[in-house]
Amino acid sequence: MRKCRFVYSKTGKARYLSHLDTMEVFRRAFSRAEIALRYSEGFNPHPVISIVLPCPLGHESYCEVLDVTLADDFGFGGLCERLNNALPSGFRVHSAALPIRKPGDLQYLDLKLELFYDGRVPNLALLDFAGAAWERMDNGWSLTLTSLPVRLNPTQLAESFGADFWRVTRLRIRDTNGEEYR
């Protein structure tokens, strides 16, 4: 048995799947790809799959983290490809590796916020928002924020700009030292 940590993206149509739906999508994908997982003991055995910091419904992400225990001691080579062939549209697994940091060590996020305005577009670049890179789009702004604390609610943040429509995308996850979370 061997722990394995997958990093995947959840974009396009997949962003509309809830956390529970996503867990089930992966359970089925592991089964189709014939990657055997360790099952829980007890009355109703099920594979133990955990998503470290689930992405809110509707948000896109390029850095979701999913931990499982593989039933056999096989290597990680080829796992991503097998899983990608079995996943529905919008999911893409980037890496499979031994987990290094604990779930609690995931502390900071880099986010992209796209804000769309139906009427006049306010000049948000005038706002002094810590560590933000502003970029003007046709009918709004694209804003990249680095090292936001994970506890911050991105939906509230997006709404605070008074946009008529917004998109949130997770770009990167960081550990307690601000390094890439692994």
């Binding site: 799947l17 089930e24 359970r27 189709r32 099920h46 529905p88």
Partner: protein, 528 residues
Amino acid sequence: MNQQLERILQRVTKPARYIGGEHGEIVKSSRELTFALCFPDTYEVGMSNLGIQILYTVLNSMEGVACERCFLPWPDMTAELRSAGVPLYTLETSRALSDCDIIGFSLAYELSYPAMLNMLELGGVAPYCRDRGEDAPLVIAGGVCTVNPEPFADFIDLAVLGDGEDVIVELTNLYRAEKGKSKAEFLAKAATLEGVYVPTIHGNVREVKRRIVRDLNTSAYPTAPVVPSTEVIHDRTVQEIMRGCPNGCKFCQACFTNAPVRYKSAEVAAKQAIASLKFSGCKEVNLSSLSTSDYPELSELTDTLLDYCTPRYINLSLPSLRANSFTFELLDKVQQTRKSGLTFAPEAGSQRLRDHINKNLSEEDILSACTTAFAAGNTSVKLYFMIGLPGETDEDLLAINDLAHKILRCGSKRVNITVSASCFVPKPRTPFENEPQNPIEELERKQRLLREALRDKHIRFRWHDARVSRIEYLLAQGKRELAPAILEVARKSRGPQAWDEFFDYALWQGQLTVNSEQITVTGDRLNA
């Protein structure tokens, strides 16, 4: 996906049901023809329907044909689509229903008729056939409800009777061959196909021969089904093992509309089931049939499937089993990991009435089965009955209470019983089709009588809304004159009528009273 749709999806509940993109979805890049396969209920209900999966496979296996799915949106999504002016679209390529060539509805229950019209109107298609021009899509219907297509005949160009998988291919090919000719010319040719009813051509649906697939071993079957990414009603793969039912209970429409009984061989069934499980990754496989105990190779099939399922933690579920000792040996084998509750459908409380409706189940069968089940550790039993059956007396009803108490005494420990009573609906093409339905007041009196009798803390009594059964009866037996009432209900209702929370009896009653002069139902004038 355009931003208008993105904005809508951000606001509605469970947006996952409106996006498609599931494992097993088929998106055709080049096409001559788009067939919108519609189910007039939500995604969760429609995606659990085996008929939809079979037709999706069959149609998409045709070259040049793109079959795309469309389901009824929840009221919040309906309102959003309406206010944004976005027409109802197919999941595969977000194509408006009005841009499809053929729109096919699967009608599985009468209360979904208004939802069919909601979908058409939301998709930019006129509900009445006569209001659709030559360029408008062809609208067709299949499913068990086409046994009496008259109530919705004004809305469809044609109906398919019986098994759909062969005739749908013939119809689609004919449509391609006749492209450029008028609808009337196409329909005249379609009317000659076995199992096709054209309301503007045929005088009576009983002139049309039901279509029957003779050999289930060679007919198309979805071994690469679409696997929903979000939770649906039945999260499992379905393996059909037989069609039809040899028992012939006199009230049962499924039995008479699916005759004759046909079996799939255990070898083919096992191969298909394992292929579907491998493809889908589901953790349950359900053997689909109307009477599993009558399947001749049940032992062989379950043995083969268990060999595959058990090491992979896959559950095997067997519906519609008869209560006998063979069943218990079987259940013992199958339920190695999980013990689910036990369900019986005696349908009537007394042996006299059970014999009268041709329900082949004796009290001894039920009691010995319960004794065995309780001894094996089960602690609950569910019993299904029907009230308002032809020839039913109050003694027959009270016999339900006696039976429930006898079952309570079968266990050495305390057990719990759920008694569920539905209301008898005389369905077309059954031996009871000409029997009257009890009036609502009589059904409600019978429900009260049972509720009083079944007062026991170990017995739970549940009953169906008699008003729902009344409307079901009118729609099942109604004639063409019902059309305006169904359309009015569709336009004025707050949500799908097949859902208890939206069923609006006052609305139906208002509509049906307005038209009551014209509506007659076999042997019973409507006086709602």
